[in-house]
């Protein structure tokens, strides 16, 4: 077994260093690409490069837009619950 093979196999035995930062959310992008490509591969009637790539890209964009909208709604709810609601409750006459 060559050193290169051992190195490649060995790299599958230790987790990568992935920081818990907002940038780590970018790991969802390759997954969304896979989901859109595989889903469209099962759905299109005939596999033609241009139409397949176009449909996959549209699905990729749709999923991404939905994720962004969901994230904004959740962020808004968290902002209200943690930032606005406590001050409203503490300032009330009750």
């Amino acid at each position: 077994m060559t050193i290169l093979t051992m190195f490649i196999l060995g790299s599958f035995t230790i987790p990568m260093r992935v920081a818990t930062t907002p940038a780590s959310m970018l790991w969802l992008l390759p997954l969304v690409v896979t989901i859109s490509v595989v889903y469209k591969a099962t759905k299109v009637g005939r596999m033609r490069l241009w139409s397949f790539a176009k449909e996959s890209a549209v699905l990729f964009g749709s999923i991404l837009v939905f994720i962004v909208v969901a994230a904004l709604i959740l962020y808004g709810l968290a902002w209200i619950a943690t930032g606005q609601l406590p001050s409203l409750l503490s300032g009330s006459t009750f």
């Binding site: 035995t13 987790p15 992935v18 780590s24 896979t34 591969a41 099962t42």
Partner: protein
């Protein structure tokens, strides 16, 4: 694949499904959907390998992460071999990398389940078209 082989409809569908499970895309390949098969194979294999690379082989754990394992094993029965290795507990899994690894490998498995069902359905349609039933 001869006509006589397809006469046993149920067996034909089972073989297509089993092939699709054994190797992602193989079910479509046997149905002469070569491009589709290659796309599925590359996308799913790459996603699975990225998941194992990021989270380590320990993300495939049939003992402590059974729900994830159920999805991961849909990639291929060969994942069970990796599961035996991962179950030894010799490979560390932790933090965000472990989560990403589990999500990648499990999503790849669930997508392969979709492809298995699709391959079986396409095989059924092929038989129906050929027999005119």
């Amino acid at each position: 694949m001869g006509q006589s082989w397809k006469e046993n409809h149920a067996l034909y569908l089972i073989v297509v499904g089993a092939l699709a499970w054994l190797v992602p895309g193989a079910g479509h390949y046997i149905l002469n959907e070569r491009t589709r098969a290659v796309v599925i194979f590359i996308a799913l294999t790459l996603t699975f390998l990225v998941g194992v690379y990021v989270g380590s082989i320990g993300v495939i754990d049939p003992v402590n992460a059974k729900p994830w394992y159920a999805a991961q094993v849909m990639n291929s029965p060969l994942v069970m071999i990796l599961g035996r290795v991962g179950a030894t507990g010799n490979y560390p899994v932790y933090g965000r990398a472990g989560e990403i690894g589990q999500i990648y490998t499990s999503i790849a498995g669930l997508l392969n389940l979709l492809c298995i069902v699709n391959a079986i359905y396409m095989a059924h349609l092929h038989v129906v078209e050929e027999t005119g039933a």
